[in-house]
């Protein structure tokens, strides 16, 4: 899996490409947590636009970040879910804790609209 992490204001945007399974989740978790240690980062947005597969190890990683971010008083959001990823999201109940948006812009607008 290829990953790009970029800070947009107080939000870390995680752009992933490929398949999010147990093999991919380990290094991604380490990368995200290193950035979460930065004081200015409060929220995390997972952009799934180029992710065509996710299993329970993938959402275990997402859920783990949700817990860490909540402790900092921030939010975790997700956007651009393809059907296979959406299905696993819904089955896992993740959608009740992590708001899902159609696009990255919609997610960021929602986040900053609420906090601003």
């Amino acid at each position: 899996m290829q990953v790009k992490l970029k800070a947009k204001g107080d939000t870390l945007v995680v752009q992933m490409r490929g398949e999010l399974d147990h093999h991919a989740a380990g290094s991604l978790r380490t990368e995200i947590d290193a950035r979460l240690a930065e004081a200015k980062i409060k929220n995390v947005l997972f952009n799934f636009h180029d992710v065509d597969f996710m299993d329970s190890s993938g959402f275990g990683m997402v859920l783990g970040r949700y817990k860490a971010v909540r402790e900092k008083g921030g939010k975790v959001l997700a956007c651009s879910l393809r059907p296979p990823v959406r299905r696993v999201f819904e089955l896992s109940g993740l959608t009740t804790r992590i708001p899902v948006f159609g696009t990255e812009k919609e997610a960021l607008d929602n986040l900053w609209g609420e906090s601003g």
Partner: protein, 148 residues
């Protein structure tokens, strides 16, 4: 008319083989002309079973061996994932949604729930110290056929 067919694959318990295993089964199952959603379900279920063998069966000891086999009979795909690892003392508990024996590894406890929801049948046979066998089956086109 599809012919009956089978595959048998032996792989070490390395996490990079999770993707390999699910792609192999997906390519095999393609002979039965499944829908994209059905293939996606099969890939996810295989990924869960193989990941369980690696993390729980062998506790990330990569020298363990996983045997993956699959058969196709008409539209029915049956998949078996075997490990010779630590086994599961209480299978009922392991299959419960959100239960995990390894919360410290950020396991979601949803692996078996996904396998149950994405496949038509699943059975889990395990013996502590000897290993675990997960058998799953799915009949392609079942929902279309039932509607017709």
């Amino acid at each position: 008319m599809s012919m009956d067919n089978y595959l048998k694959l032996e792989i070490p318990a390395k996490s990079r083989n999770e993707a390999f295993a699910r792609v192999v089964v997906a390519a095999f199952a393609a002979q039965a002309d499944p829908t994209i959603d059905e293939i996606s379900d099969v890939k996810t279920a295989v990924s869960e079973a193989v990941t369980n063998a690696i993390i729980h069966g062998y506790e990330n000891n990569t020298s363990g061996t996983i045997v993956l086999s699959a058969t196709l009979a008409g539209k029915r795909l049956e998949i078996t994932v075997v490990d010779y690892g630590v086994g599961i003392a209480d299978v009922e508990q392991a299959r419960q949604a959100l239960y995990t024996s390894k919360p410290e590894l950020e396991r979601s406890g949803m692996g078996f729930t996904i396998m149950e929801n994405f496949m038509d049948e699943i059975s889990v046979v395990s013996k502590p110290g000897q290993g675990t066998t997960v058998t799953m089956a799915k009949v392609f086109g079942r929902y279309n056929a039932e509607q017709a």
